[in-house]
């Protein structure tokens, strides 16, 4: 098997530089690459263009990169949980491209799958479609959207092996599989790195071919944004 395993976070992020475009998996704080984000903060790389569904909260997730003014541009679908984000956006310090969530997922998937662009009905007739090519198919209007072009994709999986095969858990899956292989280099961090052969090939969500580096993650906080429970009767 081709070995994708790297021994530490420094090797995992080798080659990350200022002004790069990064994809980061996760929905809210669920399934975010916590280790990669912590290392990006530590390295203090600047001028980043980040593609991620959300922007974290003020003191966790991508919010940590925003605090350090490390991000120049965010491409997201929803940013409601982050006051610092809203401040930087409204003041013009941060360039923001808000796009429909399905379009964000598909622009990742298109990059992964080798499609330069695709038509979607989402956003037709709204400001999202301004300046974009539109076209009718079978009497309905669609907007042309392009595949992302990113330098690194940072994803988080539940389990993985040194061949780069990944298995996700629950809704922590979200954008992570769509970002694998959608950037020049995909770096996967996993809660449990298992030996090759330990994962059932029938149950692998992302084959290792889409992953260039994999490492054992550490100290996952897995913060819950909205802890909702019901009472026992």
């Amino acid at each position: 098997m081709i070995n994708k395993k790297v021994d530490n976070i420094q090797q995992a992020l080798k080659g990350v530089e200022d002004n790069m475009t990064l994809m980061l998996g996760g929905f809210g704080l669920c399934g975010i690459p916590e280790n990669a984000i912590a290392e990006l903060v530590k390295r203090n790389v600047k001028g980043l263009k980040c593609i991620s569904n959300n922007a974290g909260v003020d003191d966790f997730g991508l919010g940590l990169l925003l605090q350090g003014k490390q991000i120049d541009k965010m491409t997201s679908s929803y940013v409601g949980e982050n006051d610092e984000f809203e401040r930087q956006m409204l003041s013009g310090d941060l360039e923001v491209e808000l796009i429909p969530q399905g379009t964000l997922a598909e622009r990742c998937r298109a990059a992964q799958a080798g499609f330069p662009a695709f038509y979607t009905p989402a956003g037709y007739g709204t400001e999202v479609a301004e300046g974009k090519e539109t076209r009718a198919f079978n009497g309905k209007m669609y907007v042309l959207e392009h595949a992302f072009d990113a330098d690194f994709a940072f994803v988080k999986a539940w389990k993985g092996d040194s061949a780069g095969n990944l298995v996700f858990k629950g809704t922590a899956r979200n954008f992570n599989p769509n970002m694998c292989g959608a950037a020049k280099i995909t770096v996967a961090e996993v809660e449990e790195l298992v030996p090759v052969g330990a994962l059932d090939p029938n149950e692998i969500h992302i084959p290792g071919i889409f992953v260039q580096r994999i490492f054992q993650g550490e100290n996952y906080e897995k913060r819950i944004e909205q802890r909702t429970v019901r009472k026992r009767d």
Binding site: F27, A122, R173
Partner: protein, 217 residues
């Protein structure tokens, strides 16, 4: 007049056996509490789960299992998890039967605005633009007027649009209305609400034909 739970209760009557349903954040989320238990319905959450169950018992929350509102949830037997691209394949591909979402404004031609107030609130559209662009059956759940008492049912939307010509039905604290293209056709009025009161709270063209029955909830 209905409260938020009342709106959810009335909308729950629109949910039919065998439906896959996507619920938006806010009042729509409450609909799940009122669906008849003698029918089979599956709730889809766009962050990647089909077959959502109730909130977990205290101590059983799992950070890896949440809904689109980032709330901890449980799953029912037969549930499935999937990635975001697959989730929106379900939505854009019209596999979801009913979409229920909130709105800031709805226009009489079915346009909807619910994602941005320029210069003031810019949270983003999330999955709303994908949902309204594709769903065949969209019900809007909202209060009839905003906090300043202004109508949310308008001749045309003043806020940036989420989608065009897409809303089919609206359930508010005052009424059930069908969006016909020519205006809002009044179908039902909430308990103890007069047609005059609905007319007063509706800026767009209100179509009133014959006697308007009171909602049965």
């Amino acid at each position: 007049m209905l409260d938020k739970n009342g709106i959810a209760k009335r909308i729950a009557k629109e949910v039919q056996d065998g439906y896959y349903v996507n619920l938006g954040i806010g009042i729509p989320t409450l609909v799940a509490n009122f669906v008849r238990d003698d029918i089979e319905v599956e709730f889809q959450s766009e962050n990647g789960v089909l077959g959502m169950g109730p909130f977990p018992f205290e101590g059983e929350e799992d950070a890896d299992i949440i809904n689109a509102g980032k709330q901890t949830i449980t799953t029912l037997d037969g549930a499935s998890f999937f990635d975001s691209a697959t989730s929106f394949s379900m939505i854009r591909g019209k596999h979801v039967d009913l979409t229920i979402l909130g709105a800031m404004e709805v226009a009489e031609n079915g346009d909807i605005a619910n994602w941005k107030i320029p210069g003031r609130m810019v949270k983003g559209m999330g999955g709303a633009m994908d949902l309204v662009a594709s769903a065949e059956n969209i019900i809007v759940a909202m209060m009839h007027t905003n906090k300043r008492g202004e109508s949310k049912l308008l001749k045309s939307c003043s806020l940036p649009l989420t989608g065009v010509n897409c809303v089919k039905k609206i359930v508010t604290n005052l009424a059930v209305l069908e969006v016909t293209g020519d205006g809002f056709k009044l179908l039902e009025r909430a308990p103890d609400v007069t047609v005059e009161a609905i007319q007063k709270a509706t800026e767009g063209n209100l179509i009133i034909e014959g006697d308007i029955p009171e909602m049965v909830i």
